[in-house]
C-alpha cells in the first residue's frame, strides 16, 4: 500500500525567544483526535499548547463526510429519509421530521392530524434520548462514570418504545413523507405515560448526582464563556445559544408543525446565585449550556403529556403518490433539532429526484466557535467546552 499518511501542512511555529535567566519553553502542536475518547466522534482538534495552556485550537473536520448531499441528488425523497437518520444519529426522528416537512412543503402535501401528533411525540422522545446521551457522555468526559450508566438505562426504555413502533433502535426511517410509516402500536400511549411518570423525578435525581456536584461545577462553571452576540454571530443555535441567555427556540419563535398548540418554557442560562444555580456559574459558560439540556428534558416531558391528552384518532399518513413528483422550486425549512436549528434546502426539478438537497447541520455551525472560544484555556478545559457544545459528527460532516 502506498504511503497514505497525509503531508503535514501549516506554517512553522514561531518560537518565543528566551530572556536570559528565564526558563525556555517551546510551543507544541498536539493532535486531539480524530480518535479520542472525548471528541464525541471523529473530530480532530489541532492544539497549539504552551505547557498546559492552549494558545490556539483549530478544528479539522470531514473525517465522517459521507456524501449525504450527493446521495440526496440521486435518490427519491422517500429513499433519502433513511439517510437523514444518519445525520444526527442521536436524534434521528428530528432529522426525518425536518426533511419530510421540507418535501411536503415543496409538494403541497397535507399531513393528517394524528400523524402530526405522532411526529411531535417521536421528536420529543428522541430529544430526551439525545439529551440523556449528552448528559451521560459529558459526565464521562469530566471523569464521572456513573451518570453514563444511568443515562443509558433510561435511554433503553425510550428505545424500547421506538422499537415497538418502528422496529429500530437508532436509525428509524419512521417519520416519512406524508406522516409516519406506521401507526402507533397497541398500548403505546399507556406505556409512554408510564415512562413519563417514571422518568420525570429522575431528572432531579441526576441534577443532584452530577449538575450540582462540586467537581463538575469546578470544571465547567466559568469555562468557555460565549456571549450572546458572539453566539448569534457564529450561527450558534439550540442549547448552545440558549445557554448564552438568548431565549430563542424555533418551536416558539418560528413555529412549525403543531408546536403552537403546546405550552412549554424555553430554559436559558442564568447567572450564578439565582435559584439553585451555583454561584460560580456565568451566563454562557459550559455549565449553563449543559444545564439548559437538563431543563429541556423537563419541558419535553411537559410537551409529551400534552400530546397524550390531545392526540386524536385518524390516519397516520397522507395519501402520497407512489412516484412523488417534485415540482420545480425551492424550499428551505428549519426544525429545532436536539442540537439546534436543522435546516433542509430542497430544490425540485419537475421530477422524482431533487436537484439539490442541502443540509444545514446545527453542530457544523456550533463547532465553528471553537477557534474563537478555545484561546488561552487549559487543556482540560478544551474537553469541557467541547462536551458542552455537544457535537455529533454525522451532522457536522454530513
Amino acid at each position: 500500500m502506498t504511503d497514505i499518511n497525509p503531508p503535514i501542512t501549516g506554517e512553522a511555529i514561531p518560537q518565543p525567544s528566551a530572556a536570559p535567566g528565564t526558563l525556555h519553553t517551546e510551543e507544541l502542536l498536539v493532535n486531539m483526535g480524530p480518535q479520542h475518547p472525548s471528541t464525541h466522534g471523529v473530530l480532530r482538534l489541532l492544539l497549539r499548547t504552551d505547557g498546559e495552556l492552549v494558545v490556539e485550537a483549530t478544528p479539522h473536520i470531514g473525517y465522517l463526510h459521507r456524501c449525504a448531499e450527493k446521495i440526496g441528488e440521486n435518490v427519491t425523497p422517500v429513499q433519502f429519509v433513511p439517510m437523514t437518520d444518519r445525520l444526527d444519529y442521536l436524534a434521528a426522528m428530528n432529522n426525518n421530521h425536518g426533511y419530510s416537512l421540507a418535501v411536503e412543503k415543496l409538494c403541497g402535501i397535507e399531513v393528517p392530524e394524528r400523524a402530526r401528533y405522532i411526529r411531535v411525540i417521536m421528536c420529543e422522545l428522541n430529544r430526551i434520548a439525545s439529551h440523556l446521551v449528552s448528559f451521560g457522555s459529558y459526565g464521562l468526559d469530566m471523569g464521572a462514570f456513573t451518570p453514563f450508566l444511568y443515562a443509558f438505562r433510561e435511554r433503553e426504555y425510550i428505545l424500547d418504545l421506538f422499537e415497538a413502533t418502528c422496529g429500530a433502535r437508532l436509525t428509524y426511517n419512521y417519520l416519512t413523507i406524508g406522516g409516519a410509516a406506521a401507526d402507533l402500536p397497541e398500548g403505546f400511549l399507556q406505556r409512554l405515560a408510564g415512562f413519563l411518570d417514571y422518568f420525570e423525578p429522575k431528572i432531579d435525581e441526576y441534577n443532584r448526582l452530577l449538575s450540582y456536584n462540586y467537581i463538575f461545577v469546578k470544571r465547567t462553571a466559568g469555562v468557555g464563556v460565549i456571549s450572546a452576540a458572539d453566539a448569534i454571530a457564529y450561527g450558534l443555535t439550540g442549547p448552545c445559544l440558549r445557554g448564552s441567555g438568548v431565549r430563542w427556540d424555533l418551536r416558539r419563535c418560528v413555529p412549525y408543525e403543531i408546536y403552537d398548540r403546546f405550552e412549554f418554557d424555553i430554559p436559558i442560562g442564568v447567572p450564578g446565585g439565582t435559584d439553585d444555580i451555583p454561584p460560580e456559574v456565568v451566563v454562557g459558560d459550559s455549565w449553563s449550556r449543559y444545564f439548559v439540556r437538563m431543563l429541556e428534558m423537563k419541558q419535553s416531558v411537559r410537551i409529551l403529556r400534552q400530546c397524550l391528552r390531545q392526540i386524536p384518532d385518524g390516519e397516520y399518513r397522507a395519501k402520497v403518490p407512489r412516484v412523488l413528483k417534485l415540482p420545480a422550486g425551492e424550499v428551505y425549512l428549519e426544525v429545532e433539532g436536539a442540537r439546534g436549528q436543522l435546516g433542509f434546502l430542497v430544490v425540485g426539478d419537475n421530477g422524482p429526484i431533487p436537484r439539490r438537497v442541502k443540509v444545514r447541520g446545527p453542530s457544523f455551525c456550533n463547532l465553528s466557535i471553537i477557534p474563537h472560544v478555545c484561546r488561552q484555556v487549559l487543556l482540560a478545559d478544551v474537553a469541557a467546552i467541547l462536551g458542552s457544545i455537544d457535537v455529533v459528527m454525522g451532522e457536522v460532516d454530513r
Binding site: 504511503d3 450527493k70 441528488e73 430563542w248 418560528v254 425551492e330 434546502l345 439539490r356
Partner: protein
Amino acid sequence: MSLTVQEIAGLLQTRFPDAVLEVDADSRHPGIRVAPESWHDVALFLRDDPRLAMNLLRCISAVDLHPQPYIDVVYDLLSMRPPVSTGGGAADPWSCAGLVAIRVRLPRERAHVRSVADIWPTANWHEREAFDLMGVTFDGHPDLRRILCPDDWVGHPLRKDYVFPTEYHGIPAATGSAADSAGTGEEH
C-alpha cells in the same frame, strides 16, 4: 413586528437601486436576487440597518443549475430581536423580525463572489464548504481551503459533471456500480 420579503426588498431597492435584480416574494422560499458585485455592500446594509438587523446567517447553499451555465448561491438570513419589554416579560422569547433568502447567480466557469465572513463570522465555514463541494471561490475569505474533503482531493463533488474517483492513495474506490459508469467515464 415581522418584515415581509416585499418590504425588505423595498428597503434594499431604495438604498441599492441597481443591485436588486429580482424579487420573488410569493414562492415557497421567498427571496431577493442580488447582483454579485454589490452583494457585500447589500450584506453590510442587511446586518447593520436597524430596521432590518439580519443578525443570523442561517445557511449558505450553492445550487448547480447544470445544464444552465450558472451556480446559484443562496444566503438564508433571519433577524432575531430580543423582547421589547423587560421586567414583567422576562420570560418572553426573542422574536423573529424577518426571514429572507438572498440569491446570487454566478457563472459556472468563473464562480467568484465576495466573502461575507467579515460580516457574519459563521459564513467562514459555510463558504469553505461551498468552495470545497461546489467550487465557488469567495474573494477575501481569510482561509479558503477544503473543509470536508481531504486537502488533496480532486474536483468539486457536488457539481453535476463530477467524476467519481477510482482510487485514493492506493485504496480502491470503484465498485463496479452504476455510479462509476455514470460518473467516471473510464471503464475498468
